[in-house]
């Protein structure tokens, strides 16, 4: 490729004045790390396949950026999806996509690491490869091309993207990224000793050699080492290993203890969606909501000590000058010493014109007390996520909060001076009826009435409604998505009733739901659909104003696949799933048992108090033994309970 960083830089002088928010494409922000390419052997570009404004708020990217750049032998730079105007400029000038730091084209890097937190980024990932002038399909690339790796929550079902990604990282990346770099480094050294032949066959076999070395790393999934088989009814049968060293099942990686968080965040010139310091206080969740993929795939719960959090805030403030800190976790209230943490935050930072956000609070009046005592919190609305509006429905989805508890909490919120309550619900849960949906409207109005009883017409209730998607690796992976008629009827009911002063309803369009559902439940055949949809113009699928739904429908047709097969077909309890070889540590039979419990409304209590033997502890037994301490929040296993659980299991895994 003849495009040098200098040539790209010069071309940008003319291009950037023509696009919106050129600060997305300029690099050069405070805390950016630009290393000398001649002094570093391993060059990684971290790619977030949505625009800069979104990608720069991604914590995973910040973690990897700091980890890789802390190595003497490696550098990490960044690339994002250019917005439509910039893409047009790049294509017009035939300029390849480049990394923000050095302006090297992506083809100059050894490794491109894609972050795929959600499925609607897949076409953007393809578009980025295309803009970088890199062949889209893994089998079209050779040792001269960058190695394409991907990780993130969406990759717990890697199959839909199997044709495009050379290696998936399953699970947490902090340790495995180092191992990947080490393997890559030794392979690269060996290559330099070999003859410099440009024979394409030779180049392909060198690529194969790299993949064979990478597959030995735990948590690495190399899709090209497997072949998928299907039954005559089109359902998935099994995967066959075509490479002897490839494992039959790929177990996710976790870190035994959360490493110290990053504190040298890049400070963008432009405003990003979460323009603040993100500090992860805890990873994992013990609540076991049955629709929640994050709650299943991020087990076990590991907490960061308070001192480490306070130190990280101090350091990050000094390093960035940000005026807001977000304390992140899946369920803040469940952090063991949450009150002590809040007190420590108050006492350390009360003079700093700092605001602190503490999202994901439980629905209980204690949460209001917590927010009240967090003097630095911004009072721009109190968010509660009951997810369903009837006690029956919440028992089915295992969201253990009663309507009374919710109303008490709301009462405390308005009583304590908040004027806006945000309520998050889902429609389309298994066994849901219109009565349950009607209850969403009724409950929201009841919340407004409580608000008005305290503060009159200033009271505001914002209702956000999304549609349930049965995600892989959850107890609901056997269930279906609502039909379009069902979704439309339910949304119509809510739109009709949730109007008027003090009420605001927002919802996800069915298109967005279906697209995410297809892609999350997809098998290997979905790669062809993704490719076709991208060819037909699909990109920015997460954007409601950009999604090209007809391109997707057409792509399914062209590949003779039925979208309904993936999301509207009830699955037999014995069915093999295309993602079964991805081992999240939680056993499939545990998920199935939980599904069966859901059908009778049987709850599963918070597993902090009692172990239900989901499988995490035996799977990571050694890791926990080698890292003693109280960071893990799994209780000691009671042998008796474990036995009954096993006896209860309906299928074997």
């Amino acid at each position: 490729m003849s495009d040098t960083p200098l040539e790209i830089q010069q071309a940008l002088q003319r291009i950037l004045p023509k696009v919106q928010k050129p600060g997305r494409y300029s690099g050069g922000e405070f805390n950016q790390i630009l290393k000398d390419w001649t002094k570093v052997d391993l060059r990684v570009c971290l790619v977030f396949p949505d625009i800069y404004d979104i990608g720069m708020s991604n914590l995973g990217l910040a973690i990897l950026y700091e980890l890789i750049n802390n190595r003497k032998d490696a550098l990490a730079e960044r690339a994002f999806a250019p917005w439509l105007d910039m893409e047009e400029q790049l294509r017009q000038a035939n300029l390849p996509l480049y990394a923000l730091e050095s302006k090297h084209p992506l083809t100059d890097f050894d490794i491109l690491g894609f972050t795929l937190p959600y499925e609607s980024l897949y076409t953007n990932a393809l578009n980025i490869l295309d803009l970088a002038h890199i062949p889209l399909f893994s089998n079209q690339r050779n040792s001269h091309h960058p190695l394409i790796i991907a990780g993130g929550h969406a990759t717990f079902n890697p199959e839909p993207m199997h044709a495009f990604i050379d290696a998936f990282v399953i699970g947490e990346g902090e340790e495995v990224i180092q191992e990947i770099l080490n393997v890559y480094s030794s392979w690269k050294q060996d290559q330099s000793l070999l003859s410099n032949s440009d024979d394409p066959a030779n180049s392909k076999s060198r690529r194969q050699e790299l993949l064979r070395r990478l597959v030995k790393i735990d948590g690495i999934y190399i899709p090209s080492f497997y072949k998928a088989y299907y039954h005559t009814d089109q359902t998935f049968s099994h995967l066959e290993c075509t490479e002897p060293s490839a494992p039959l099942r790929v177990r996710k990686r976790i870190v035994a203890k959360l490493p110290p968080p990053p504190t040298h965040f890049i400070v963008p010139f432009i405003e990003t969606i979460h323009d603040r310091i993100p500090i992860e206080i805890m990873r994992g969740c013990t609540r076991g909501c049955r629709f929640c993929q994050a709650g299943m795939v991020t087990r076990p719960v590991r907490e960061r000590p308070i001192e480490e959090i306070i130190f990280a805030i101090q350091e990050s403030l000094k390093n960035t000058g940000y005026e807001e800190v977000g304390l992140l976790s899946l369920s803040s209230s469940d952090y063991t010493n949450i009150l002590d943490l809040i007190n420590a935050v108050n006492s350390h930072f009360s003079h700093d014109h700092l605001s602190v956000s503490l999202p994901s609070l439980r629905i209980e009046s204690l949460s209001v007390e917590l927010m009240n005592s967090l003097s630095l919190a911004r009072r721009n609305g109190f968010t509660l996520a009951p997810e369903a509006a009837t006690d029956r429905m919440r028992q089915i989805i295992n969201k253990q909060v009663s309507t009374d508890q919710l109303l008490d909490t709301v009462d405390a919120i308005y009583r304590n001076g908040w004027s806006t309550v945000k309520l998050y619900f889902m429609i389309g849960h298994p066994l849901e009826t219109l009565t349950d949906v009607q209850a969403i409207a009724d409950l929201s109005k009841m919340v407004l009435r409580i608000g008005r009883s305290h503060i009159g017409n200033r009271a505001q209730v914002n209702v956000g409604v999304s549609t349930f998607i049965p995600k892989p690796h959850t107890p609901f992976q056997w269930t279906v998505c609502d039909s379009e008629e069902q979704i439309k009827a339910k949304l119509a009911l809510l739109k009709d009733q949730l109007r008027g002063k003090g009420l605001k309803l927002t919802w996800n369009p069915p298109d967005a739901t279906y697209l995410e559902a297809w892609l999350s439940k997809g098998d290997r055949r979905m790669s062809a659909v993704i490719y076709q949809a991208w060819r037909l113009g699909a990109k920015f699928d997460a954007w409601n104003d950009q999604r090209n739904f007809s391109a997707w429908k057409q792509a399914f047709e062209l590949n003779q696949l039925d979208p309904a097969f993936y999301i509207h077909r009830p699955r037999s309890l014995q069915e093999a799933f295309p993602w079964d070889h991805i081992d999240i540590g939680v056993r499939k039979k545990y998920l199935l048992q939980d599904y069966q419990w859901s059908l009778t409304g049987k709850p599963r209590a918070d597993c902090r108090t009692q172990c239900y033997a989901c499988g995490i502890l035996p799977v990571f037994k050694e890791l926990r033994q080698n890292n003693p301490g109280d960071a893990w929040k799994c209780p000691e296993v009671q042998p008796k309970l474990k036995e009954t659980t096993i006896a209860h299991d309906a299928v074997t895994n």
């Binding site: 002088q13 003319r14 950037l16 004045p17 023509k18 050129p22 600060g23 494409y25 300029s26 690099g27 050069g28 922000e29 405070f30 950016q32 400070v267 010139f269 432009i270 405003e271 403030l317 000094k318 390093n319 960035t320 000058g321 940000y322 005026e323 700093d352 014109h353």
Partner: protein, 227 residues
């Protein structure tokens, strides 16, 4: 309470930091430096800062001027040292001067701006175009639906020697009061040149002499009068 006038440059990638983003960038620079700005009262607190003139996105500048207020007085030397450690790449401080709390606002005393325009593509008859432009009695342009006469807003339009890369350069001095102001890209467009093929650099803001502020004399004043 202390009021400081800061003269700073904005170059490289910082030129893509827009006017509103620049406030946030300064706020964070001060926070990193541990220099506490005064905050406004109200629902959402903002640090008190006042930037003389919005520099259009993509322009570089060697002299932007901003006033900030501090609750607790510090020596300018101390402030300068702290800020220099925490400035983002592409921003440098030329000077910090304490000024009277009651001094008039920067906007009210700003009268003109000087720019250097660099043309990325050669323009064979640039000199002739400049002469023709200045000979017009009025130069009417459409600014977002409003018709404006640029001619009385132009104080100087002069060819400069080519830069080191051989690019043609133009010196511009234009009116920059709140009521009457011209942008160099408007002038370039009036010359019949696509502004996206030019680079713009502001080299100075010109303030009226009446507030007793620092360094307000400018050698081009004679020229300004002449035009």
């Amino acid at each position: 309470m202390m009021r400081l006038r800061i003269d700073f440059s904005k170059t490289d990638a910082m030129r893509f930091c827009g006017h509103l983003d620049l406030f946030r960038t300064w706020e964070r620079t001060f926070r990193r430096a541990g220099v506490n700005l005064s905050y406004t009262q109200g629902f959402k607190h903002h640090p008190r800062m006042n930037i003389a003139s919005a520099l259009p996105l993509g322009f570089t500048s060697s002299h932007e001027v901003m006033d900030v207020w501090l609750d607790n007085p510090l020596s300018t030397e101390q402030i300068l040292q702290s800020l220099r450690q925490t400035l983002p790449p592409g921003m440098k401080i030329n000077q910090i001067t304490p000024i009277e709390i009651s001094a008039p606002s920067l906007q009210s005393i700003l009268i003109g701006s000087e720019y250097i325009t660099i043309f990325l593509d050669p323009i064979a008859d640039l000199a002739k175009r400049v002469t023709n432009l200045l000979n017009q009695p009025s130069i009417l342009i459409d600014r977002r639906g409003k018709i404006i006469d640029l001619r009385p807003l132009l104080f100087a339009v002069e060819l400069l020697p080519n830069d080191n890369d051989g690019h043609q350069q133009l010196f511009l001095c234009v009116s920059s009061t709140q009521e009457k102001n011209a942008r160099p890209d408007e002038v370039v467009r009036a010359l019949g040149v696509d502004p996206t093929s030019a680079l713009f650099h502001r080299q100075r803001l010109i303030f009226s002499n009446e507030d007793g502020g620092p360094s307000l004399t400018h050698p081009e004043m004679e020229q300004i009068k002449r035009l």
